[in-house]
């Protein structure tokens, strides 16, 4: 073989062979999931696979898992982090088919009651109540209401959130404006128009199509304007006057005083805009406050104010969301999985986060007692009392002015809602972008929503 031939064929062949060998050694090519979860509750060593959304709080959990593993030397925990949409697709396929690739899954509040009713999740109440040290009553009642079926808990909140209005105090002071603690949407719209300049948005609101994007804040606006997705007979109310008023208000507010190109904005885009002082107000998840107040990463730390979600016809209008840990019925390691779930949602874990990573990084909105930890109260003074107020005030059973046949604030707890919400969100986004009118969008949305409503009757 000549040197030239060796370089042309020998080196690539050697590299290829090396990759194959390394991949084989690293577990590639084997059914790793099956091997990892072999054994289980028989007392031998166990590796749990945890599928989780990749939010900062979950990354902190992974960082601290070594503490759990040292306390439980027979249990190892492998984290598989995914983006929210990917997590939904992958975990739904796994749990629904009974594939059993995951021992613990992170599930949103929207899915938990549906999956529990389908028998996909383990009832955690017996394990939680059997542990005298695990204070179930300390979990936020509004959150556990949304995670329970017939009084049994099928997931435990890891962190929870509501929605609040955040505003830049410097911009308000410069304009001579004062933000009330309980603003109305009319007041907020008025402030936004006064604060809007060529390079600063009066308010940043989500416009990206998606039931979890645009329709998270917009549904709370609909609720407080007196609208709702369905009445108690599962008749769609999308083209009813209160729903139309709310969407018209939202679209007009974005057009008059919102950020440019709103249909490309969701949480992260608004966060970046506010951190650059390019938006005077932002209505979004309460968890944003802890990011805005982080002095190591935020240029507006200390300059932000936080008040209740704006209202019109209700006294509160915050949403309710939680990321929760659940154990699929298909796990072979139920006891080990429950042990980890209890550890990650315990009061001791919250202390561990505060003492190890910093008190502003304690997962909010899961336990009431978090808000009476002195160090947390001090570190999160700007937003913790408000979050506690809002989380206690939210009523997921009737967030608007009329009764509803499901439990949930910014979503409808039926399987069809993801599709309905996504389709109607796309129509409303078209209205925001000026490609259609709100009336036309909601007329089409009514038909889409009614089809799903009819299936519930």
């Amino acid at each position: 073989m000549t040197t030239r031939t060796m370089w042309r064929f020998g080196v690539p062949a050697a590299v290829t062979a090396g990759v194959m060998t390394l991949a084989a050694c690293s577990g590639a090519g084997t059914g790793g999931g099956g091997e990892a979860t072999a054994g289980g509750d028989g007392g031998e060593s166990v590796e749990l696979t945890l599928a989780t959304v990749n939010n900062p709080q979950m990354k902190d959990m992974e960082e601290l898992k070594s503490t759990f593993e040292s306390e439980h030397p027979d249990i190892k925990v492998k984290f598989v982090q995914m983006e929210e949409g990917d997590l939904r697709a992958a975990v739904t396929a796994d749990v629904a088919s009974g594939a059993g690739q995951y021992d613990i899954v992170t599930v949103g509040a929207y899915e938990v009651p549906q999956w529990a009713q389908l028998g996909w999740l383990t009832n955690l109440s017996p394990a939680l109540e059997a542990d005298a040290d695990y204070d179930v009553a300390d979990l936020f009642p509004a959150v556990t209401d949304a995670l329970s079926v017939d009084g049994d808990l099928y997931a435990v909140p890891f962190y929870g959130e509501s929605s609040i209005l955040m505003y830049n105090k410097d911009l308000f002071e410069a304009a001579g404006l004062t933000m009330p603690d309980h603003p109305t949407w009319t007041e907020v719209a008025d402030f936004a128009k006064q604060l809007k300049t060529d390079d600063t948005a009066g308010i940043c609101l989500r416009g990206k199509p998606g039931w979890g994007d645009l329709f998270a804040p917009l549904t709370t606006v609909v609720n407080t304007f007196g609208g709702q997705w369905y009445d108690t007979n599962w008749d769609a109310q999308v083209d009813a006057q209160p729903f139309q008023d709310a969407v018209n208000f939202y679209v007009d507010l974005l057009a008059d005083a919102g950020q440019s190109d709103p249909v490309s904005y969701s949480f992260t885009e608004c966060l970046n805009l506010v951190q650059s002082s390019k938006a005077a107000m932002w209505y979004d998840a309460s968890v944003a406050a802890s990011i805005l107040e982080d002095e190591s990463t935020s240029a507006v730390a200390g300059s932000m104010g936080y008040v209740h979600a704006p209202v019109e016809k209700t006294t509160e209008s915050g949403w309710l969301w939680s990321w929760n840990l659940a154990v699929p019925n298909t796990t072979k390691n139920q006891v080990a999985a429950e042990t980890f779930v209890k550890w990650a949602t315990s009061k001791e874990y919250q202390q561990l986060v505060g003492e190890t990573l910093g008190w502003t990084r304690v997962p909010p909105g899961a336990r009431v007692s978090t808000y009476s930890i002195p160090e947390y109260e001090e570190a999160a003074a700007a937003f913790a009392p408000l979050t506690l107020d809002v989380m206690n005030a939210v009523d997921p059973k009737m967030p608007g002015v009329s009764p509803q046949p499901w439990v949930g604030v910014q979503y409808v707890t039926i399987p069809e809602f993801q599709d309905v919400g996504n389709q109607v969100a796309q129509l409303v986004a078209d209205a925001i972008a000026g490609r259609t009118t709100v009336e036309d969008a909601l007329a089409k949305g009514q038909t889409i929503a009614q089809e799903a409503g009819d299936k519930q009757k």
């Binding site: 690539p12 290829t16 990759v19 194959m20 390394l22 991949a23 084989a24 690293s26 577990g27 590639a28 090519g29 084997t30 059914g31 790793g32 999931g33 099956g34 091997e35 990892a36 696979t49 599928a51 959304v53 990749n54 939010n55 900062p56 709080q57 492998k78 598989v80 982090q81 995914m82 983006e83 929210e84 990917d86 697709a89 992958a90 396929a93 796994d94 088919s97 594939a99 690739q101 995951y102 949480f267 992260t268 966060l271 970046n272 805009l273 951190q275 650059s276 390019k278 998840a285 968890v287 944003a288 990011i291 990463t297 935020s298 240029a299």
Partner: protein
Amino acid sequence: MRKLTGALLSGFTWFWILLAFFPIGWMVFTSLKTETDAATIPPTFAVPLSFDQYREVWDRDFAPYLLNSLFASITSTILVLAIAIPAAYGLSIRPVRKVQDVLFFFISTRFLPVAAAILPLYFILKTIGLLDNVTALALLYGAMNLPIAVWMMRSFFNDVPREITEAGQVDGANLRVEITRLVLPIVAPGVAAVALISFIFAWNEYFLALILTSDAARTLPPYLASFVDGRGQFLAVLSAASTMAVFPVVLAGWAAQKQLVRGLAMGAVK
């Protein structure tokens, strides 16, 4: 006038080159910033740069995902070449009956969206215990890329002068010698092009890797998406992970560029 036209043409070409390179360059630049600087609007340029984000990516177990991607891509590419070359040879140099129907059948297997086949695939793999298995992923990638590879290889074989194979046959060359000694050296650039395209398709495949793997067999594309943080900043670390992920493909493209250009140009002139 000719000089002016040449200069304008050069300027125009450079403009398009820079425009095409800009997203890659911007990704690399962003990967060297801090998360706060990366998220600043409007973008900032005079900021401190570091390799911290690359360290974070590496610390988040980059290597196993890289190895899985390499294994799935290389194995599927070898599989594709092993089947596509004789198949295309049979459809070109020694065509079977109703060759057009056969070719249409091959390409028609690409008409079905992957999403429509995912549930049967999932249940089949679950039943035979091959969920989260990188070899199964490589087989699927091979099957997905095979039709396009057969089509491409056939067009390359069509360009081989028949006189060469006929001369070989007169000299007593059997089928194996005819393919390996006479035809393959002529279509080597085409084989390189097919191999690279097959490798890139497998390397970038996202949907199957997301649904059919969970941990042991997970590849780079779903791993990259895991850096997209719904409740925080992620642009710098995502850029660093993406830069690391595209590096092997760029390297493969660079190594094969001479063959690739010849291969892609094959059949352009009759």
